[in-house]
Every structure is written in structure tokens, then in C-alpha cells.
Subunit: 525 residues, 2 copies
């Protein structure tokens, strides 16, 4: 399966005409073959036109057809075998064991959405039968279902080259909802993207779907991305990446004659609150678990614990000392790209020069290019409250401990936080009341709140929320991980007094799909 | 119950400090007492601060408390008695019978949301129990519920002074979701707004809720509205009104450091497709029913049928002739405000001067000030496709018939339409195939599709969608009428590994609220 370096516009493998990108092996700082020429504006338009042409047919495939398609994508990804893992390993520097796990997660995610599609709850069918005798006016027959928004532009993430990239969570949930997808591949792993893109395209062919259901584009600058988001046939956007990148897409989406929703997952420092009794009981094991979470995958997770908040005192000192010791032992790890490594170095340098932050410990020094050395900083709550720079995300294995004078100051720091993907509480029974008092603030600030765990590790399940208030995401009403992600790509349509013959299956009087409808105000059993 | 002309900031009746507004009796062009001084920037801030202070407590009221509050609002509105109907009649020129019906609808709407709150389905509870033995990693315990977005700014509509104003659909659904509400009263009916606002404030007091749950502001220009939407404590916006007004609020919401959702219902011309067999069988009764819908309430409905589309031929000629006859007999009716009457006159004049449109008939001339004379225009499909001015909404009793050469041209006109609240099909059995072919287009264009009815009349029920693609609304994912309106004001939060004692009721293991949860992938019975 040689890599072509080509775009995938529907079923056609096409040579791009614009400036190329090339992956870099971050462990050796060496660029990799082939090069991926960027899509021209016309090629972007072609992919969008194909997606549009496919939309009406694809959104009305049966639940079984669509579920089978998602499962076929999973099979086709698995059929790529070692070639996929090898290429992803070379392009990202991520260990093969991690990539094998991530491939498993990616395919399980596709199969989970197949289950969701078959269950059909996302159709949210509501039926109000007519009441012809009602006074003073009869009630018509009204039926509601959810339909797909339209073609979706998906932007792959660098840090999950499989699970949040070409066939990752955004693509799986959009396809599940009935939306064709045009992916802009992340420049950090174009070969991995091509392999997965080919797998999806093969699934499209095998399931005899319209070719425009899936396209895959490359581009060196922001033109392809902005072009995609500006195309009138694109009706929603899924993005995981930087705050500046996400905001640029939000702006483009709002500047359209017809604005569209953007689901951008952008920025989070994931505060961890260490309560007094928990700290006193287990400062050292907490410190060890913290540094494990902090340094996992070179800290390159959206949910990396970048902020620790606690009342100052001997227990916090014990925690800081133990964490510092762990950080000093942490080996440097290769980051995903030279760009990420250099942004990390800049972020660390800015903290080092900030007189509101004090360096506590640094990990083992670099052994090779693009490595992430772990760092731990500390500041007072007063300084943290006064200095917005201390809330900036440093993507990588760096964290800041904020020491507070009082419970009230803990609350002030919590209220001062921007929106977050997660917030974490470490507590013992004696801390429960304090935790309860902080909870309303955290519910307003975060999409997921954890007790006595660590935020890295995002389960794909029904109850997961990987989202949160701005700037964690651009739209706090959704989650990009878990089955509820499908809801982002739907809108309601109501059918009034339709003859059964003209109604979609989901709404027909006989309920052929056997859905649990909201029928005349009651949920069916 | 004398009118005070004051703002309501929580429980305080406060004199505004800015330029006043005064209602005008449109039947006499006479301004009414009292004057309503506008809120200052500081008063806007006070209302938002109170709403914010009330938020955490209000969103955690029990389902029963919140349902009872909504019911109490309904009782307090009913207790206003004739004073409310009389004032609304004087301020809007709407007949008392209509206003009595609208009051019934408003109170029924509040009680419907009380039922929705009690049922608790909107909490969308999802529980994934922990799997401690799972390999390679255990699954934590994960629980999701929906919580309120935060304080909501509501902008009352002119054309439903009760059902879509101070205690109308946006307010009822936001309060049901657990959001405090700050209303900017519509300048056309400040006295009606004050009476209803007092009723809501009495319900707040009677239910012993924090006073910030509800405030009511007035303002002459756009400052109060923009100030509200720009306040960092406001987290969502509900609006019904003009396209320019809605877009200004969208812009303000996007320009905030933290952008927020805006649900603006703005503009729709509600296309009606007349198919051949239906036209041939009943051109004349269709024409009569059409003109009844067109002229109802002086055409001042968001769902007024402003566009008719059909294949040209003898049946359409019969329809046009019959409709013209009906229009010519239609009496002029007083419009809501001098501003609306003058905008209507301008819109009609623009159509009259547009050489792509041909005037078919005009209704009875004015008998008094601010009256709406009905008009019917026609154009060719070719002209309609070429001239965007023919798609502009003329708010009032004016409609345009577009005559098409072929089914293909009908489809082209449908594809050419902007987003709509409604689309209507008139058909007989012989038209079913043609309707089926048009349906995918209409599903993409409209929030509600009707067969053999007329779009005016919007039922408050579970299946209703009063929404649609831009510019019908600014957010096609929601509905502003019907029980699903509550979903606009919610966001998901996930609780991981929480001890039961720290979980909200809705998520506790014993399911004390007896909700039908999504439990380990299965919906409870």
C-alpha cells in the first residue's frame, strides 16, 4: 500500500496543485516522503460539491446501512495492519503500544456510533396526533424528527492521529448523524491520514454509498481550512487544536452569508483542587499519580492537569516536594512535531521569566530533538488572580501549583478560571462540605468534574462530556467525545398533517423502526 | 393596579434614567401614559448581577419547585384580569378576542413547561457504571446530566404581546431550564409588559425564589439590548424580531470575550407550493383559505404565507383570479405600531416599483391610521430567481405568486430560497410523487413542513418546530415554540467517580427522581 501523496476527492485520488506539506519524523528531525501537495480552491470546491451531491441520499440511508458503513470503516482501518501503526509511529514519535491502543479506541468508537445509529434515540421522534374535535381549534397532526445538518468540515488533531483525526470522533459522529464529511488532514501526520482516508474511501465504495460522503484534503496554510469553512455547502465544523486556529474558524463561520455552528475544542488547563484532608492523608501518592498524569504522552493531552490549587500549609509542602522529586526523575519525551516542541519551550520560558511564577523542578534534560522536559512551577493565589499569563495553556508536561491562603481564596481562584474541559477534586470524607461548596462554580466552569482521579483518559461512552464553556470549546452545548457527540450535527424538522406515504420511516404511524417515541406527551415503553 | 412606568430590577420597582419610550395606540396614533424611562448601563448591570447571584440557587431548585413557579406565573397573569387585556388592546390594536386567546395560550404554555420540568426528560441523564475489572484499563463511573446555561436575555416580540413577550415562550423555556431571565420589553407594548412583569415578580416572591430570577428593562434605542447581550453574566439570548435587530444581537454576542448562543427568530416568507392536481381540484377554495391565512391579524405573523409557487397554466390562473377577488374584498386592518405600518407601506411600494413583480390585486383602502391594505403580486420564476429583492420579507398581508414553467423550475425556485420557518405543500394523491421529489429540498430549507394546511397557527406541543435554517433563525438547531425549546438553554456536565453524597439528585445511584436514564447503554423502561 504505497503512499501516493494525493488528495482524495470522493473516490478520486488527485494530485494537489498548491504548496506541499511533508511529515517530519520528530525523533530525528527528518522530513518524510511523500510530499502532500495542497488542495487548490477549486479542489476544495469540488470536494464540497461532491459532499453536497451526496447529502440528501446519505442522510436518508437506513439506520442499518449507516451503521454497517461505520463498522466497515472500522474493518478497513484494522485491515491496514502494521503499515498504519508504523507510519503513525514514524510521523508522530508516539510509541507503537500507544498507537495500537489508539487504533483500538478509534475502531471501537466507530462501532459504538454504529450501535447509537441503530438504536435511533438520536432521532428524538415526537408525535402529537391530531385532535380534530378540540375547541376552539382542532390540533393538526405534528411529528418531529432530527435530520442531519449537512456536510461537515472536520479538522484532525495532532495529538490523536487516529482517534481524533481522519476517522476519529468528529468524523464518526458526523457520519453517524447522516452528514458527509470533508476532512482537512493535520499537517503533522499526512501519511497516517492518507492510509485512514483510503480505508474510509474503500468503505464508501464497498457500501455503495455516493462518493461525496467522504473526501480528504491537505493544505500548508490556512487557505484550505478557511476555504472549507466558507463554502456555502458546508453546514458545520468539527475542530480540535489551538485557540488561535479554532477562533479563526469561528470567525470564518460567522462571516458567511449563512453562519454555521463550529465545534472547536481549543484550550484547557484542567484545574485540580487538592483538599486538606486528602492532602494530609496522602500527599505523596497524590504527587506520584499527578506526575504520572502530567507526563503521560509528553503531556500532549487536552486534559493534561496544568493547574493545581490548594490551601498552603505543611500538607501542600509535602505534596510539592514529592511532586518535585517525581518531576526531576521524569525522562524527556519526544513531542509530536517541531512546532509543538518549540511552542512548549516558549511557554516554559515565559513562565520561567514571569516573576509571578517560581520554578519548583525540572525533569531530565533533552536527549534528542523536539523533546519535552517536564516542569513544575508555583505561584501564590494573589499572583494568579492578578496575572492572566498564568492561565495560558502550555501544551506539554508543565503544571503550576497555586497556593491559597484560605478556602475563600480557593473559591476566588476557581471563579477566576476560564472555561475548562475538566476540573478535578481530590478529597476525603472530611473535605465533602468544602467540595460541595465549590461544586456550583465548577459546574459553571467545566464540562467534566472528577473526584479522586486524573483528567487524562477520556472514556468513549454515553455519559462522557469532552467539552465545556469557552474557551475550552467554542460551543458549550456539545461534547466531542462519547455518543452524545452525534447530537451536534442534527436539527429538528416538524411534519404537519403529512399523509403516511410521504412521511419518513421514523415518523410513520405504524412506527416501523420501533422507536421509543414521545407520543402525545408520554414516552413509549 | 396603576402602571408605574418603572423598571423591575429583581423585586425593586426602579425609575429608569435614560430616554423614555411611550406606547402608541395605533388605532388613533395617540401616545399613551405612562412613559417608560430607559434603563441606564448601571441598571442593566444591576439586573445582570442579580440574575447571576440567583443562578446557582435557581438552577438547583427541585423539579417540583420550578414547575410550581411556572404555574404560579400563569395564575398571576390570569389574576391580572381585564386590565391586562384592555391595556394590550389599547397598545397593540389587536382585538380583545385575539388577546384573550393569546393569554390562554401564554398560560397554557407556562403550564406545559411545568409538565416538562416535572417529567425531567430534559435532564437527559446518562449513567455508565464503573467497570473496575475491565482490561486493559478499568472504566470509571461516569454520569451526565444537563444543567442550565446561565442567565438569559429575552427580547419580547411585537406581534405576540403575551405569548412571545415578557412571560412568553422564550422566558418560559429559559425559566424551565433553570436560567434566570432579564427581559428587554418591546417598545410597542410597555404597559402590557409591566403588568406581566409584575405578575412574574409576584410569582418569584410567592415562591420564595431569589429576586434575580426575573428582571424587566425598557430602553428607547439599542443600548439596553446590546448592553444586556454584552454583559459577561448573560449566557444566552432569545429574540424574536427583525433580521437587522437579530443580526445586531448576534454580532454583539460574538464580539464578547466569551461568545454566547443567540436564538434569534428573524425572517421568513413561508413558501407555499401548489401542486397541479390539488390546484385543478380546488383552486377556488384554496384561494379562499390562502387569503384568510394571509390577512389574519393583518398578516403580522412570522409564518404568514408570503410566497406561493406553482406551475403556470389554467389551474393557477383560476387560483390567482379567485385569490385576487378575495384580496380585493379584504378590509384594511390596524397594524401593531406606526413603525410596522410604515415599513409595510415601504415594502409594498418597493414591490410595486419592481418591474419583476406585477400587482394582481389590492384590498380595501385604509379607514384609519396605521392600517394594512392587503396586496397580491405575481412574478415569473425566472424573475424571482434573478432578483433577490423578491425574497425580502414584507411583514404584513402581502404575498407573491411565482409562476414556474416546469417541475424542474419549481425545484430551482425551492433550492433558491433562503432558510424558512415553514414550507407548505398543497397536494392530491396524483401529486405525491412530485411532492416526494421536492421534500429533501424543503427539509433542508425549513423547520416545519405542512401538507394541505396553512402555516399561520403554531401549536405549542412536543413535536412543534418553530425554527429553521438561517435567516429564519440564527441557530437552526433549536425551536422557540413547543417543549423542545427548553433544550436551547442547557449544556451537559459529566460527573466522574463522584461519591453519591456529592452527586445531584438526578444522578444518584438510587435514582430518587425516578428518571428514565440511559443506563449502561440501555434506556430504562
Amino acid at each position: 500500500m504505497p503512499l501516493t501523496g494525493n488528495l482524495l476527492i470522493g473516490q478520486r485520488s488527485v494530485v494537489g496543485t498548491e504548496a506541499p506539506i511533508r511529515a517530519v519524523d520528530p525523533t530525528r528531525n527528518q522530513s518524510l516522503e511523500p510530499s502532500y501537495a495542497g488542495a487548490s480552491a477549486e479542489q476544495v470546491t469540488q470536494a464540497c460539491a461532491l459532499a453536497w451531491a451526496a447529502f440528501d441520499a446519505y442522510r436518508e440511508t437506513t439506520l442499518e446501512q449507516r451503521a454497517h458503513f461505520l463498522e466497515t470503516i472500522a474493518e478497513q482501518i484494522e485491515a491496514l495492519g502494521d503499515a498504519l501503526i508504523d507510519r503513525a509511529n514514524t510521523e508522530t514519535g508516539l510509541p507503537k503500544a500507544r498507537l495500537l491502543g489508539e487504533r483500538g479506541r478509534t475502531c471501537a468508537q466507530l462501532r459504538t456510533f454504529a450501535r447509537v445509529v441503530r438504536a435511533g434515540e438520536w432521532l428524538d421522534v415526537r408525535v402529537d396526533n391530531s385532535l380534530p374535535e378540540r375547541q376552539p381549534l382542532p390540533r393538526p397532526d405534528l411529528r418531529q424528527r432530527q435530520i442531519a445538518l449537512g456536510p461537515v468540515a472536520v479538522f484532525g488533531a495532532s495529538n490523536f492521529p487516529l482517534a481524533f483525526s481522519v476517522a476519529g470522533g468528529d468524523t464518526a459522529s458526523a457520519l453517524a448523524a447522516g452528514c458527509p464529511v470533508v476532512v482537512k488532514a493535520h499537517g503533522a501526520h499526512p501519511g497516517t491520514s492518507e492510509l485512514v482516508g483510503q480505508a474510509v474511501a474503500r468503505a464508501v465504495a464497498q457500501c455503495e454509498l455516493p462518493e461525496g460522503v467522504f473526501s480528504l484534503l491537505y493544505g500548508a496554510g490556512r487557505e484550505v481550512g478557511i476555504g472549507l469553512v466558507s463554502d456555502p455547502r458546508i453546514k458545520a465544523v468539527g475542530f480540535t487544536g489551538s485557540r488561535s486556529g479554532g477562533l479563526a474558524l469561528c470567525q470564518a463561520a460567522q462571516a458567511r452569508p449563512e453562519p454555521i455552528p463550529v465545534y472547536a475544542e481549543m484550550s484547557s488547563i484542567n484545574p485540580v483542587f487538592l483538599f486538606e484532608a486528602a492532602l494530609q492523608a496522602r500527599a505523596e501518592p497524590l504527587a506520584q499519580a499527578f506526575v504520572t498524569s502530567l507526563t503521560q504522552g509528553a503531556g500532549q493531552f487536552c486534559t493534561n492537569p496544568g493547574l493545581l490549587i490548594a490551601r498552603q500549609g505543611p500538607a501542600l509542602e509535602r505534596f510539592i516536594n514529592a511532586a518535585a522529586e517525581q518531576v526531576r526523575q521524569a525522562a524527556a519525551q519526544t513531542m509530536l512535531t517541531p512546532g509543538i516542541a518549540s511552542a512548549y519551550a516558549n511557554g516554559v520560558a515565559a513562565l520561567g521569566e514571569n516573576r509571578n511564577a517560581r520554578q519548583i523542578a525540572s525533569g531530565q534534560p533533552h536527549q534528542g530533538p523536539n523533546q519535552c522536559q517536564a516542569h513544575l512551577f508555583a505561584s501564590s493565589a494573589q499572583a494568579f488572580l492578578a496575572d492572566p499569563a498564568l492561565q495560558a495553556e502550555v501544551f506539554g508536561a508543565t503544571s503550576l501549583v497555586v497556593a491559597c491562603d484560605s478556602d475563600e481564596q480557593v473559591r476566588q481562584v476557581a471563579e477566576h478560571l476560564e472555561g475548562q474541559l475538566t476540573a478535578t477534586l481530590h478529597l476525603d470524607a472530611a473535605d465533602l462540605d468544602r467540595a460541595r461548596q465549590l461544586l456550583p462554580t465548577l459546574e459553571r466552569k467545566a464540562g467534566r468534574i472528577l473526584v479522586n482521579g486524573w483528567p487524562t483518559g477520556v472514556e468513549v461512552c454515553d455519559a462522557m462530556v469532552h467539552g465545556g464553556p469557552f474557551p475550552a470549546t467554542s460551543d458549550t452545548r456539545g461534547t466531542s467525545v462519547g455518543t452524545a457527540a452525534i447530537l451536534r450535527f442534527l436539527r429538528p424538522v416538524c411534519y404537519q398533517d403529512f399523509p403516511d406515504a410521504l412521511l419518513p420511516d421514523a415518523l410513520q404511524q405504524g412506527n416501523p423502526l420501533q422507536l421509543r417515541r414521545l407520543l402525545d406527551g408520554r414516552r413509549e415503553g
